[in-house]
């Protein structure tokens, strides 16, 4: 067998392998941990590296326009419900890339950051399980399977949020997170039961092709959007997010950002694909609901960020605000989806929203890593007690400036590229929306400049005299993300044309996703 055949074989089985590799790796980790700690760390990094290369292999094929399906169970598509289907389109691949990059960076960062903790075999096992769960949520084409992966993600992430069990606040945040996630997941299961009772199907494409938009479907839509938005931390269901983000170890927070966005992906999959056929009836109202939720999320996020004094909690509210931009962009796309005069606007808004998913993950992630680095060096998170750190930690300071400029949408960074698309397109829909969006960005800049001043500038404090720069693995992790941010900021067209546009098209042309499973389906744009 030559190399080309091997790659074709890997490509064919990659949807299954992407989930299987981290899942199996998770359960081998405790065994390897008994040998040696360094061997275990290398093993976890290699496992995630292998997963990442499989994701890139699959994505490189999917972005050319193919949709991959992978069937577990009966190959005969005429038989109902005796199989689980993985279906990967450009949107799924886009989200999988984000998740896998975040996990890989988090594991590299953990090497030094978590070195002094005990129980690290369990820590790495949970990280791999969480990665497998997120990737499963993004690749699956089956609603019940989506629920199972959602639960895998929430159980392992709740355990990771509460990883520092010696801190009362961490345990409390973990408990809050698991209560919220479980209730959300049970409502999702309830709506899956509503679909199954009506259409005798669990497959997303099958449900989408048969959906009638009955009263029960409306209930299911409300339950699904509410539960997934709760898991994504959309205001007014955000109360768990600052606690969980703020109290988890920084490396875990980075992956939690990915888990939150996997739930957001669920919202978009439900709105665009499952209700795609029925959306002709009410695109306006569902779209406006997303837009209004986005605006409230943005404003409340920045308003709460201004008054925080805890470094990580402040960034967490910044992360809430960023989710608002994503909802605003994609909601605008949904509002104008059926208006033929505004197709270009809709597509621009979708591109902005989807590009911002990736930018949000990178910007917020980098800031959390910087906060973790400061905690590692000084054991302090309160902004009132920090100061003058730029003297001792010059690389960390540079990374914080990059993150600060990126999150507030300043021109040389990636945040500017996606936010500009969102401003331009929402201005066409309603100027007030883009004014609020720009105002929130300016307030974010003000908030983070204040943080920069409080933590890095000012006179040298005697208690921080011996603070040193953080170890190499943490610098490598932060440097990787900072490099990606700058590259995306300098060449946004490259990313938008090759990755973001296929993803936006995949959401808008929902008919292709359904036709991959039900060839006779006639709807869709």
């Amino acid at each position: 067998m030559n190399v080309a055949d091997l790659i074709a074989l890997l490509l064919q089985h990659s949807p299954a392998l992407i989930v299987a590799v981290p899942l199996l790796g998770a359960f081998i980790t405790p065994l390897i941990s008994r040998l040696n700690d360094k061997v275990r760390n290398v093993f976890v990094i290699l496992t995630l590296g292998l997963t990442a290369s499989l994701v890139f292999l699959l994505a490189s094929d999917v972005f050319t326009g193919n949709i991959h399906t992978y069937i577990f169970g009966s190959q005969d598509l005429a038989l109902p419900v005796v199989r689980i289907l993985f279906e990967v389109d450009a949107m799924s691949a886009f989200m999988a890339i984000i998740s896998v990059i975040l996990s890989l960076v988090a594991v590299i960062y953990s090497w030094s950051f978590m070195k002094e903790n005990t129980g690290l075999d369990k820590y790495y096992t949970l990280i791999l399980l969480m990665t497998a769960g997120m990737l499963g949520m993004e690749l699956t084409g089956d609603l019940f399977n989506f629920f199972v992966f959602l639960e895998i993600t929430s159980i392992s992430s709740a355990a990771l949020v509460a990883f520092w069990t010696n801190k009362a606040k961490s345990v409390e945040a973990g408990f809050k997170y698991i209560v919220i996630s479980t209730i959300g997941a049970l409502f999702i299961l309830f709506s899956i039961a509503l679909f199954y009772g009506q259409y005798n199907a669990l497959n997303m494409a099958m449900i989408a092709s048969a959906i009638q938009y009955t009263f029960l479907d409306k209930i299911a839509l409300v339950l699904l959007i509410a539960a997934l938005a709760m898991k994504a931390g959309v205001v007014p269901m955000h109360m768990w997010l600052p606690d969980a983000y703020g109290k988890a170890p920084s490396s875990v927070t980075l992956i939690l950002v990915g888990a939150t966005q996997a739930s957001l992906y669920g919202v978009f999959r439900v709105c665009f694909t499952i209700y795609g056929g029925a959306i002709n009836l009410t695109p306006i109202s569902v779209g406006w609901i997303l837009v209004i939720l986005g605006i409230i999320t943005m404003l409340l996020g920045v308003a709460m960020a201004i008054i925080q004094t805890d470094f990580k909690r402040l960034i967490a509210f910044g992360a809430v605000a960023e989710i608002g931009y994503i909802l605003l962009g994609i909601g605008t796309g949904l509002v104008v989806m059926l208006n033929p005069e505004m197709t270009a606007t809709g597509l621009a808004a979708m591109k902005g929203g989807i590009f911002h998913i990736m930018n949000d993950a990178l910007d917020v992630g980098l800031l959390f890593l910087v906060a973790g680095a400061i905690y590692y060096a000084t054991k302090e998170t309160s902004l009132n007690k920090l100061g003058g750190l730029a003297r001792n930690m010059k690389y960390t300071t540079v990374f914080f400036i990059i993150g600060l400029l990126a999150i507030s949408g300043m021109p040389p960074m990636n945040g500017f590229a996606s936010k500009l698309l969102i401003y331009e397109s929402t201005y066409q829909l309603n100027p007030i929306l883009s004014i609020i969006a720009i105002l929130s960005s300016i307030m974010l800049l003000a908030v983070f400049v204040k943080v920069f001043h409080a933590a890095f500038l000012g006179p040298a404090l005697p208690k921080f005299e011996n603070v040193k720069e953080v170890p190499k693995s943490m610098l490598i992790a932060m440097g990787t993300i900072a490099t990606i941010i700058i590259i995306f900021g300098l060449f946004p067209e490259l990313i938008i044309n090759n990755i973001v546009e296929p993803a936006a098209n995949a959401l808008v042309n929902y008919g292709d996703y359904i036709r991959e499973v039900i060839p006779s389906f006639a709807g869709g744009v």
Binding site: V148, E151, A162, K169, V171, F175, I178, V179, A193, S382
Partner: protein
């Protein structure tokens, strides 16, 4: 089925569970509320697959007649297993919270930053 009793039971279980999660002050009672919601959803799934007078779906020894739908039962089994894992995690977190605060009353837990 008589007066749709299973569906009424589903609604009752979910509402009682939600009431417990939202209004009860004791963490253990909140956990009980979540398991009640879960039971309600599981009962809903099972009820969807049941037909009056049906038998267990075992093809090899079937005496004939209509069978209950097996797929919801498989889903329920999966959901029960997940529920056990969630319950175990929640209770272990409750134990840790009790160790830190010496109480399970939500009004006394938390407070200002340490």
């Amino acid at each position: 089925m008589i007066f749709n009793i299973p569906f009424i039971a589903v609604a009752a279980l979910i509402l009682i569970g939600l009431y417990a999660v939202i209004f009860k002050r004791n963490l253990i009672k909140m956990v009980i509320g979540i398991t009640l919601i879960e039971s309600g959803v599981n009962l809903f799934l099972i009820t969807l697959g049941y037909r009056e007078g049906s038998i267990a779906p075992i093809y090899t020894s079937s005496p004939g007649g209509i069978m209950a739908l097996p797929v919801p039962q498989a889903l329920t089994l999966t959901s029960i297993v997940i529920g056990v894992a969630v319950l175990a995690l929640m209770l272990s977190l409750v134990i840790h919270i009790y160790r830190h605060y010496g109480t399970l009353d939500v009004r006394k837990i938390g407070g200002p930053e340490e």
